[in-house]
């Protein structure tokens, strides 16, 4: 089967500064890399490749030319092919528009590689953090989707069985393929690239598809195709200074703390 794993290029650190004039997050010049949550999706794609004979993994990313580096990082780990969906018209897309771009890209991967069985995402990005993209892409494609996957106990060409971590326990679900999944950190331990892998990835071709190649008009992508605008970004107000609980012995400190908690009606 063919697997598509989607990766995002994000700031490596989330301790970002805000531009006081525009209120926008200043990300230029910050070190960027593969969204840490996506590393588990790449690893799971590679493990499925090892489990299911004949599986190929395509790594897909949306964004500017700089995203080439995160695609190659995934190729260095063992992904087979890379695709960059890139067009100035894509800039400023919200989840609604982005999911359309991704769906068109996945469909084109399916056309050029003889079908796609599974699409894998990380749980969320470390910058936008919505965790909404996976299910939106599922709906765009008309494919089933499951988020928060902690384990894939069974995987074959026609169906997969997944364990979904919920707030109250674990659901086991079976999906008819093709399907879209997002995986949790719990699912695996990502491998590190080998030197040979890194060298090979440098030379591998990465295809680039723009809006025209995907059959997307300018009014359905980017800001025009979005249904959400960011109107303000503000730093989080810092918490006021706290109280240091003092006392001679642990018992004294415990007594002083519990008195405070009692005052606040926690006890």
């Amino acid at each position: 089967m063919n697997i598509v794993v989607c990766v995002k290029r994000t700031p490596a650190s989330t301790s970002v500064a805000l531009d006081p004039q525009t209120g926008a997050v200043k990300t230029a010049g910050l070190p960027h890399g593969i969204n840490p949550f996506d590393e588990y999706a790449v690893e799971e794609a590679l493990r499925l490749k090892e489990r299911i004979p004949g599986t190929k993994v395509a790594v897909l990313s949306v964004g500017p030319a700089e995203n080439d580096e995160v695609i190659r990082a995934a190729l260095a780990l063992g992904c087979d092919t890379g695709v960059l969906l890139s067009d100035p018209a894509f800039a400023g897309s919200d989840v609604y528009a982005l999911s359309l771009i991704l769906a068109k890209g996945i469909q084109k991967v399916a056309e050029t590689r003889g079908g796609v069985g599974l699409v894998l995402f990380g749980r969320q990005s470390n910058d936008g953090e919505s965790g909404h993209t996976t299910a939106a892409v599922g709906a765009r494609l008309g494919w089933p989707s499951v988020i928060s996957v902690r384990k894939i106990p069974e995987a074959a060409d026609a169906a997969v069985t997944v364990e979904r971590l919920r707030e109250d326990g674990t659901d086991v679900l079976q999906l008819t393929l093709p399907a879209v999944l997002s995986v949790l950190k719990e699912i695996n331990e990502p491998r590190l690239p080998s030197l040979r892998g890194k060298m090979a990835a440098k030379k591998m071709p990465v295809e680039t598809w723009g809006a025209a190649a995907l059959g997307l008009s300018a009014d359905v992508v980017g800001k025009a195709g979005s249904r959400m605008d960011v109107v303000k970004m503000a730093p989080v107000p810092s918490r006021g200074a706290g109280v240091v609980i003092t006392g001679e012995t642990p018992e004294d400190k415990a007594q002083a703390l519990v008195a405070k908690l009692k005052e606040a009606k926690f006890i």
């Binding site: 989330t14 970002v16 997050v25 840490p36 949550f37 919200d94 989840v95 910058d127 936008g128 953090e129 965790g131 909404h132 993209t133 299910a135 939106a136 599922g138 709906a139 765009r140 089933p144 989707s145 499951v146 902690r150 069985t161 979904r164 919920r166 707030e167 109250d168 326990g169 674990t170 659901d171 086991v172 679900l173 999906l175 008819t176 399907a179 950190k185 249904r227 959400m228 605008d229 960011v230 109107v231 970004m233 730093p235 989080v236 918490r239 706290g242 109280v243 609980i245 642990p250 018992e251 400190k253 415990a254 703390l257 519990v258 405070k260 908690l261 009692k262 606040a264 926690f266 006890i267």
Partner: protein
């Protein structure tokens, strides 16, 4: 074509006929919006065996409860639930749909957004209206370092937001809403996802996301046995048990207890951090907590600096002393 939607829909999450109390937080949030627009609030419950729950909801802040029942809807299956709710919304045209920012809500809301051409915002902690009565959503981004305000502006569909649990107070009992059944669209009931089974967590464990009090342990505990003290304090306080990434990665406690960027985001009224230094990734998951208590041997670590109450000392002496003191205070 312009979309003329009216009213707020609060979509309930349920399992086995029991509705998650996050619904009552959605009703509080929805009521404010509906009142400002002069519209009504509808709770939508979908599943099987929900009649009792519907009655309670009708007496707790919903003008109307729509009950969507079918034996095949007994368990939550993404594609089917989304298709059924989308058909219902297409027919009745709500203006706003609110869902909990849980696995359930994050699974359904994006599918509904695509099916209904709706603007979508994640993880709302605040909901306001702009001058044109469009929805402004406040949420945190960049690991809790930034507060973002986003505007939903779809003209040809409704607006949808997932709402962070515990961001709003739960609606109180009162009012007498109506209960009505809405038959699911038969065509929407066929999906490509089959529910196999559910394994519940231990019944004595409180879910982190909905917990009003959390006691968490970190690397400072030094060994897995330290969590026995953390659990003891949690039990005494009636709190859920959390952990830092370091403790989870050390294998001291399962991943589902992890608080922070790669774990759960929580906002309890009381967060007790035992032996957690306060790495930025951990802070991202709990810095919206009401009161923070830090217990640590290192008085200079970041957690002790942000704490409402900082207690410096040996965890193995302090935690039992605190438990004993609480028991004494309760008499």
């Amino acid at each position: 074509m312009a979309y003329e939607g009216k009213g707020v829909w609060c979509i309930a999450e349920s399992r086995g006929g029991k509705v998650s109390p996050v619904l009552f937080e959605l009703l509080t949030a929805g009521r404010k919006l509906a009142a400002a627009r002069g519209e009504t609030v509808t709770a939508v419950v979908i599943g099987h065996g929900l009649q009792d729950a519907a009655g309670e909801i009708a007496g707790r802040g919903a003008d109307q409860v729509l009950v969507v029942e079918d034996a095949s809807l007994k368990e939550f299956v993404d594609d089917v639930y989304a298709a059924v709710l989308a058909k219902l919304a297409e027919a009745r045209k709500p203006r706003t749909l609110l869902l909990p920012a849980t696995v359930y809500g994050r699974s359904l809301a994006p599918r509904l957004s695509v099916l209904l051409r709706a603007g979508l915002a994640a993880d709302a902690v605040g909901l306001e209206l702009d001058a044109e009565q469009r929805l402004l959503v406040t949420r945190s981004a960049y690991a809790g370092n930034v507060v973002a305000t986003v505007l939903l502006r779809s003209v040809d569909g409704p607006e949808i937001a997932t709402v962070r649990p515990l961001a709003f107070e739960r609606s109180a009992a009162g009012g007498a809403g109506t209960v009505a059944a809405a038959a699911p669209d038969a065509g929407a009931l066929a999906g490509k996802t089959a529910f196999v089974s559910f394994g519940a967590d231990r019944a004595d464990e409180i879910d982190l996301g909905a917990a009003e009090k959390i006691v968490s342990g970190g690397r400072g505990l030094g060994k897995p046995e330290g969590f026995e003290l953390v659990r003891k304090l949690a039990k005494t306080l009636g709190a859920a048990v959390g952990a830092s990434r370091a403790a989870v990665d050390s294998g001291w406690i399962p991943y589902k207890h992890q608080v922070g960027l790669t774990g759960r985001s929580v906002r309890p009224k009381l967060y007790v951090a035992c032996g957690i230094s306060g790495q930025i990734q951990h802070m991202a998951g709990m810095n919206a907590s009401g009161t923070i208590v830090a217990i640590n041997s290192d008085a200079e670590c970041p957690m002790m600096k942000v704490a409402t109450y900082a207690v410096q000392g040996d965890l193995y002496k302090l935690l039992p002393a605190i438990v004993a003191e609480i028991e004494k205070a309760r008499g």
